[in-house]
Symmetry: C2
């Protein structure tokens, strides 16, 4: 299905809700769970991963919570996907690990998936989380030119 994980979907929702916090304020995992309608342990898991990626910042103790480290408009979608799902890699043969594919010698598309991955990577880089959460009006993207096969 070429789908991304639910955790990534949750992450986008949580990030947009986290944006509702007052300036400099923090939101706790239970509060975010309530706001999003997601289960609290799940939200906590998402926040931990996002914190590990540096997208959010956790503060412990009483009056602790999470807050964004950057405005949503400066967070490209691919960064969230990479944080939650790992690097974009449509197939297993994208890395240069030889010897793992038994069809290696006969495979005619070996190494050819890279441009595809790159094309998708660029598409996801050009969309910010703010674009997903923003007002209904679509904001034209500042980088309209999009050559699929750039010079390698």
């Amino acid at each position: 299905m070429l789908r991304l994980s639910k955790l990534t979907d949750y992450a986008v929702v949580v990030l947009t809700r986290l944006d509702d916090a007052a300036e400099g304020g923090v939101l706790t995992a239970p509060v975010l769970a309530g706001n999003t309608g997601l289960a609290e342990p799940t939200v906590a898991k998402v926040l931990k991963i996002l914190a590990h990626a540096g997208l959010v910042e956790g503060r412990r103790g009483a009056l602790g919570g999470y807050r964004l480290t950057r405005p949503l408009a400066t967070i490209p979608l691919i960064e969230v996907i990479t944080a939650m799902d790992g690097p974009i890699a449509l197939t297993a043969c994208v890395d240069n690990s030889f010897g793992v594919c038994e069809s290696e010698s006969a495979c005619p598309v070996r190494g050819r998936w890279d441009p595809v991955n790159e094309a998708i990577r660029r598409a996801l880089t050009g969309i910010s989380i703010a674009d997903l959460a923003g007002p209904p009006a679509i904001v034209p993207h500042p980088e309209p030119a999009f050559p699929i096969f750039a010079a390698e």
Copy 2:
């Protein structure tokens, strides 16, 4: 990981190998299995799905086999992915089926994934199977302009 299924990967390999057949000739599943290094039942499965999608044509009986219905250059990658994996849909909330998501009322990104799916869809439409199997030299794509957020 944002990966597509192995079957799709196999499909691309099989299609490129199928292109080796002589003009008008056919290749049988066992032969293709030998050429690709994949298991014969797996190749047969892939071919059946591709035949159902109209990308290849099967001929039964003795001297039967499969052949391409179109040149590889005219088959966009997305067509193979759609045939093998189903339609591109990064998240479950892309269709307009209301009432299935318990967080529906609180979800701030509802319906906002469509542009993302569309962006990826375009990226994959601009790449043909021939591009994946072709010579190392990258062929510049005839449709370089790629507005992420087109007017809706």
